[in-house]
């Protein structure tokens, strides 16, 4: 067990900046998720921690030693790969035992620990099969068992669930979270799936173009996104973002007039409001006027997309909603959960926000 510290780490290939110079600390026993679209540098960051990629600058510390010049094998880490990286010529048991075998653990110890790891991921009866005879979920379990068989200082997981089907992903997600909590091992987890990030992480680091945009607990990332990118990336369906102006505390845009959205006046402001914070009301009422563009039934709710001026906004409403496409509707925003961003820089404008009580995480 150990904390992981990245000090002024950067990675560049010629003129391409994969990971911009920045620092990051992962606390002992923490579950940190690196989240971002493909090509944002999250995997490169993890590979530098693993030692599979050399940083162009900066220092990486695992526990109390700088590991810049330490081979991957000596970093006391375990990694789960997107395509599992299993050894096809070895049986499941031999795959799990591999980290012990190369470290010269004797046979009896090895067998006991393999059995223990296999039991934790419920693989006990498959030890004599070969990886190619297993399903995707089972292969994933083998990769997990191989990672936990040795109790490393740090777990690294590189999109471990992305090759599984949706249903299995939910089950495995829970299992990974349970395992990590049980073992208490510092974990860095890379994903582009915001649901995985929200459900698994103690803290989420949202990345874009090699730069960490925000690093905070999931609830805070969701409730107080630091900028437009984070606001649009987290949440499904994404947050509605409407560009307009703030005039004496009233947010105005075509079809939108929202008094008390903020304080003061400013041009070029983006209003962010999540679909579940928008409700439909009679035409003329509420803060926005629009027409129904389409409705989608998700099962537990109906998503209504409305055309408001040039923008399309999505509202999550009750199942009973039955207005036809093209019908005129009003939309009311939940005043406690409005977000204001600067249109140019994309940054959150906390000083402009209204004085109404914010929703505190967990409330």
């Amino acid at each position: 067990m150990a904390q992981v510290i990245l000090k002024d780490v950067e990675k560049t290939w010629a003129s391409f900046v994969a990971v911009a110079r920045q620092s990051l600390t992962v606390a002992d026993g923490e579950f940190l998720v690196l989240l971002g679209p493909s090509g944002c540098g999250k995997t490169t960051t993890m590979r530098m921690v693993a030692g599979l990629e050399e940083p162009s600058g900066g220092e990486i510390w695992i526990g109390d030693r700088c590991v810049n010049n330490v081979m991957p094998k000596d970093r006391d880490i375990a990694m789960v790969f997107q395509n599992y990286g299993l050894y096809p010529h070895l049986t499941v048991g031999e795959n799990i035992a591999y980290p012990l075998r190369v470290r010269g653990v004797n046979r009896t110890d090895r067998e006991a620990r393999v059995a223990e790891a296999a039991r934790k991921v419920e693989l006990g009866n498959l030890l004599h099969r070969r990886p190619r005879e297993l399903s995707g979920g089972q292969r994933q379990r083998v990769a997990l068992a191989r990672a936990i068989v040795r109790t490393p200082a740090v777990f690294l997981m590189d999109e471990p669930l992305s090759n599984l089907d949706a249903k299995l992903r939910v089950t495995m997600r829970a299992e990974i979270k349970h395992l990590q909590a049980e073992l208490g091992i510092t974990t860095i987890y890379v994903t582009h799936d915001q649901i995985e990030a929200m459900t698994l992480a103690y803290r989420v680091a949202v990345m874009k173009n090699g730069v960490v945009q925000q690093i905070a607990p999931p609830a805070e990332v969701y409730d107080r996104p630091a900028n437009l990118f984070v606001a649009g990336f987290i949440g499904s369906p994404p947050m509605n973002l409407i560009t307009g102006n703030l005039v004496d505390g009233t947010f105005t845009a075509p079809g939108v007039a929202l008094p008390g959205a903020g304080t003061g006046s400013r041009d070029g402001v983006v209003l962010g409001v999540r679909p579940e914070c928008l409700s439909l009301c009679a035409p003329g009422d509420g803060h926005m006027a629009g027409t129904v563009f389409t409705t989608e039934l998700t099962g537990e709710a109906v998503l209504v997309t409305a055309q408001v001026g040039p923008a399309r906004v999505i509202a999550r409403t009750e199942r009973g909603f039955a207005e036809a496409t093209g019908a005129t509707v009003g939309l009311r925003a939940d005043m406690r959960q409005l977000h204001l961003f600067d249109a140019e820089s994309g940054l959150r404008l906390p000083e402009m926000a209204s004085r109404l009580p914010e929703l505190v995480p967990g409330e």
Binding site: A50, G51, L52, M71, P72, K73, R75, I77, A78, M79, F81, Q82, N83, Y84, G85, L86, Y87, P88, H89, Y98, P99, V102, R103, P131, R132, R139, R146, L156, N163
Partner: protein, 272 residues
């Protein structure tokens, strides 16, 4: 199965015809090897078989066992030298990016395009200067050079098929680079390496031109040794056939092995 139409039958016929064309000479040799010199010229399927031919070719002046030994030593040495070298080269080409890598790969392949007849004379002069004419090391050297390009390309294909992730997993799991090679890459590329080894053996076993020019008496290999049967008494087909069977025997065994590994090679490595 789909029912075959007229064209399908024609195809079947052509396949059978092709098989006959290929196999008939082999059958003829197999029969002739057990015939007396008189019977050879008659296309009889039924005759009194004799093993006398096999006894004769081991006696002076033929002494075919010496040639057999030369062939075996040369071929085995070629495999033992070329395959480890080719495996290292193939791994490097597959995994490491280096300056002029493509040019090197293409050059290696291009050496295969040079007709052997063109370079056999320089080789002759070179080995004469070195005093290595009519020695096995000379043949081993030349055959290794012939075999290498193709072995490198073949093994590279198999190493390319090993996911990089598997190697990285082994590195993170605690292996050194060498352990990754020995415990992960070699077993996974084994079908390719074995196939390349068998082909290397076959190529050097059958190599004729260089062996003909670079040997005279001591280092003569089997394919060259067959000329002994073309003497003053004319072509001695029964003896030639007996020696021919000796040449073919390991080929047939190896061909069966290659077939097995080819199938294995194609189904392996597909673990994602």
């Amino acid at each position: 199965m789909k029912r075959k139409g007229g064209w399908g039958r024609v195809q079947d016929g052509l396949v059978v015809l092709a098989a006959i064309v290929v196999l008939l000479p082999i059958v003829w040799i197999a029969l002739a090897a057990f015939k007396t010199s008189v019977d050879v010229f008659e296309l009889k399927l039924f005759f009194t078989p004799t093993l006398q031919n096999f006894a004769t070719i081991f006696e002076p002046p033929y002494l075919i066992h010496q040639k057999l030994l030369n062939s075996a030593i040369v071929s085995i040495c070629v495999v033992l030298i070329s395959i480890p070298l080719a495996t290292c080269a193939a791994y490097s080409f597959s995994r490491f990016r280096m300056r002029g890598e493509r040019a090197m790969l293409v050059t290696i392949l291009a050496t295969q395009f040079v007709p052997a007849v063109v370079i056999v004379l320089p080789f002759f002069l070179m080995f004469r200067s070195l005093g290595m004419l009519d020695t096995r090391p000379a043949l081993i050297l030349v055959d290794t050079a012939i075999v290498m390009p193709f072995a490198v390309w073949m093994i590279k294909g198999f190493v390319d098929g090993i996911p990089l992730e598997t190697e990285e997993a082994a590195l993170v799991d605690g292996s050194t680079r060498l352990q990754v090679l020995r415990r992960v890459v070699l077993p996974m590329a084994a079908p390719g390496i074995i196939t390349a080894a068998i082909f290397a053996f076959i190529i050097s076993w059958n190599e004729f031109l260089f062996a003909l020019i670079l040997t005279r008496r001591d280092a003569v290999t089997l394919p060259v040794g067959l000329q002994l049967f073309n003497g003053q008494e004319g072509m001695q087909w029964h003896l030639l056939s007996a020696a021919g069977l000796l040449i073919m025997a390991p080929m047939i065994v190896l061909a069966l092995l290659v077939q097995k590994h080819f199938v294995q090679g194609m189904t392996m490595g597909a673990v994602r």
